[in-house]
Amino acid sequence: MVIELPASLTTAYVRRFLRGIQVLLRTDRPRIVFDLSRVQEIDRAGTEMLLHCVEQIIRQDGELGLACVPPEIMVVLELTCIDRLFEIFASNSEAVEKLSGIAG
């Protein structure tokens, strides 16, 4: 499943977004791609949200990938070393293909 993230991954918006995907994060073996193509800003709340999601998904024996990451956001992910926790794809289709292959 591909989920498009909002333009602002900041304190003001993260909580609402998390509430919206809680059910998905609790499914069995979720395969989720976060599409970051619209993301323009991210703060600590946003990076912690990503960490929370990957933690939840791993607990459910799932996979989470990031796709279409803008270079400005990539700088922040690399600076905070979060990029190492995700597989990052150039496109949604590539991500879906890879994660579907993992699901067998």
């Binding site: 600590r44 270079p71 400005e72 700088v75 922040v76 600076l79 905070t80």
Partner: protein, 338 residues
């Protein structure tokens, strides 16, 4: 023969034609030749700015007088004497020319025969004696330095000849003699200092001994330079070549590597990795960060591989440091935040 120098730093160079100065795009704070609103030539790189190194070299060559024309609010070289400064308004286009013209006229009246006019701009290494001889041999009123990328804002002027050109302004004088310019292409090193990428090139070239710049401070181990009062925790790791600036602190388990430079008054947090990067003065880097292929100035990261500059708003990640003195005594004489 009396040779003087006028060095120009900051301000807005005219981009109207026919300005003999190379055009400088002005589009907000991050313009060509500037980082964080400050000319790159005024920023400390490996402990000293390009303007400091240039003036020091001109002094070593015996030039007198030397005048630094500097936009208001711009930093001037610390710990360097023997030159005078003349302010110019920071935000007025073309303010540069009348100010330079007045200095030029004073030099002529004082009997200075040859004037080296430099706009920083580029960091250039050249043999002054060779340039002077070239200028004399060509018997043109103006000699201009060039390299493979084009003309540089380094000019040698025959003072009397230019003064006799009969115009009221230096700008017009140079325009009038533009067909009588000799071009000198023997500079030994040129770095145009027009972007963060050029900052990294200057640092890497210095560590690789491709030019005369050497880091300030002491080389405590091969390839590792520590400046005065630099404090590197015993459990931090430094894999040279690396420079650590004056009054900078590197915390435990931090790692500095691969041609990195950390300028004065910085703090590198625990566990943070700095590789192939330059951290400019007065920057606080938080803990457990990974800085690679970047130039950091204040809260901004110029990432050279992703080719973007990002402003990080989270103070816990990185921020600009303000000195304690500055916070409490903003008008303390001699204190300058740069």
């Amino acid at each position: 023969m009396r040779v003087g120098a006028i060095v120009v730093l900051g301000g807005s160079a005219s981009i109207e034609r026919p300005s003999p100065f190379a055009a400088v795009a002005v589009q907000g704070e991050e313009t060509q030749e500037r980082l964080g609103g400050t000319p790159i030539a005024a920023l400390d790189i490996l402990g000293q700015s390009a303007v400091h190194r240039t003036i020091a070299y001109l002094q070593d060559c015996g030039l007198q007088p030397i005048t630094l024309v500097v936009a208001e609010g711009m930093p001037v070289p610390a710990n360097l004497s023997g030159y005078s400064t003349v302010p110019m308004p920071a935000n007025e286009t073309d303010a540069i020319w009348p100010v330079m013209g007045r200095v030029f006229d004073k030099y002529v009246q004082a009997g200075t025969e040859t004037i080296l006019l430099i706009r920083l701009g580029a960091y250039v290494e050249f043999d002054f004696s060779d340039l002077l001889q070239f200028h004399r041999d060509n018997m043109q009123p103006v000699t201009r330095l060039v390299d493979s990328a084009g003309p540089l804002d380094f000019w040698m002027l025959d003072a009397l000849h230019c003064a006799a050109a009969g115009s009221d302004s230096l700008h017009e004088t140079l325009a009038r003699v533009k067909d009588s310019i000799a071009y000198y292409d023997q500079a030994t090193y040129v770095n145009r200092l027009s972007s963060a990428s050029d900052v990294r090139h200057l640092v890497v070239d210095a560590f690789s001994s491709r030019h005369a710049v050497r880091p300030s401070g002491r080389e405590v181990k091969p390839g590792i330079w520590l400046d005065d009062n630099a404090n590197v925790h015993s459990r931090a790791r430094v894999a040279g070549p690396v420079y650590v600036g004056r009054d900078t602190r590197v915390q435990a388990t931090a790692l500095l590597a691969r041609f990195s430079s950390v300028e004065r008054s910085c703090n590198i947090g625990c566990g943070t990795v700095v590789a192939d990067s330059s951290i400019l003065a007065n920057t606080h880097l938080g803990s457990w960060l990974d800085v690679s292929h970047a130039v950091i100035f204040g809260s901004k990261v110029a990432h050279l591989r992703h080719n973007v500059t990002v402003d990080i708003q989270d103070d816990r990640l990185l921020r600009r440091r303000v000195s304690v003195f500055r916070r409490f005594l903003p008008n303390f004489p001699g204190m300058r935040e740069n």
